[in-house]
Symmetry: C2
Subunit: 183 residues, 2 copies
DNA sequence: GCACATAAACCGTCCAGACGGTACAGTCAA
DNA sequence: TTGACTGTACCGTCTGGACGGTTTATGTGC
């Protein structure tokens, strides 16, 4: 099948992420999103009746993407008889390189309406909780997951205080530490 | 000596952090800061001629606090013949509980003028780089530091997906892992 | 000890522009 | 015909910042 062109709705959400990542959440205005998405302001407001709806849309899409990805990784792990956390980490690593601007949704929402993050908070905390409890050593698992969060933070704020040549070794080590969790 | 009352300048910076932590960076307006600090708008503008100066002040104060703290921890470690990273981690842990709103400065700056973070980026990355290189196992050190970052992120966005009863064990484990780095 | 000067610290108001949102008439492909 | 938009005009509110005025602290000469 051809790479079917994304819906306008998704184009708008992409544009919103781009604006936040490039100019900061303060400049996430409806006008700016419209311009970035090559859509009229009325077009944006057609899909998202107000700005809260836009922010909600950003957070919801992000959450469903993360949820899908974790689910896929867990399925893959189960089918291959591999430890789930290792697969989850691997997929997160491989994405954080390409799609920097994913958690920009969190930034944008927290800037304007911090309470929009409440559902995300709950889902993420129970998910991570569960993933940790499934390992023989939940404490170590939590530490590794914190390290993943740290990586997210550094991408989010462009704090790449990890030199490029050490990225791969760190990735490998984190995965092997995850693997050892189950030993 | 009496607990000499903080300068108006510091009061204003504190107020700015409070506003960001409570209402989101979008609501970090000069008026809001003035109200929170019980100072007039003109008063704020006396100390910080414009908003960029306010944001810069926030970032600079945060950076100097972090710098001082790391320096103190390193001195303490040297004097006691203990591993530096362990001391640095310990002090970060003990602060992150009390003063949640420290890295709110980063949030606020990234929301409005992402480039204000450039100096912070550089200092932090060289510092962490150095701390890691001083250990026998820089890769593992980086992972542990990422975990600290992750903790910061979860505090920053109020993502406390670490259950309270596991906070202490995680703290202890992280410190012991840091200690083992040098073994 | 006191009048006075000077500057620092701070107040309150005003204004231009930006922003969110509304309204509505028109376009255009399916 | 309908749904998915475009384009323009407009309104109320918020915000950064300029500005002029006022209080408070710090000398300084007498």
């Amino acid at each position: 099948m051809p790479p079917n062109k994304p819906s306008t709705r998704d184009t708008i959400l992409d544009a919103a992420e781009t604006v936040v990542a490039r100019d900061g959440s303060r400049r996430l205005t409806i006008d700016a999103v419209a311009a970035e998405a090559s859509v009229s302001k009325g077009g944006v407001l057609y899909h998202f009746p107000n700005k809260i709806a836009l922010l909600t849309g950003m957070v919801e899409r992000m959450m469903s993407e993360i949820g899908d990805e974790i689910a896929r990784a867990e399925t893959r792990a189960r089918d291959a008889g591999k430890p789930p956390l290792v697969e989850v980490f691997a997929s997160m690593f491989d994405r954080s390189e390409s799609q920097n601007g994913l958690s920009t949704a969190l930034l944008a929402a927290s800037a304007e309406h911090p309470e929009l993050l409440d559902p995300a908070r709950e889902i993420l905390s129970t998910t991570f909780q569960r993933l940790a409890e499934e390992t023989p050593d939940p404490v170590a698992a939590h530490i590794l997951m914190l390290a993943m969060d740290g990586l997210k933070l550094s991408v989010l704020l462009d704090f790449n205080h990890i030199p490029d040549h050490q990225f791969q070794p760190i990735r490998d080590r984190l995965l092997s530490m995850a693997r050892e969790l189950y030993a």
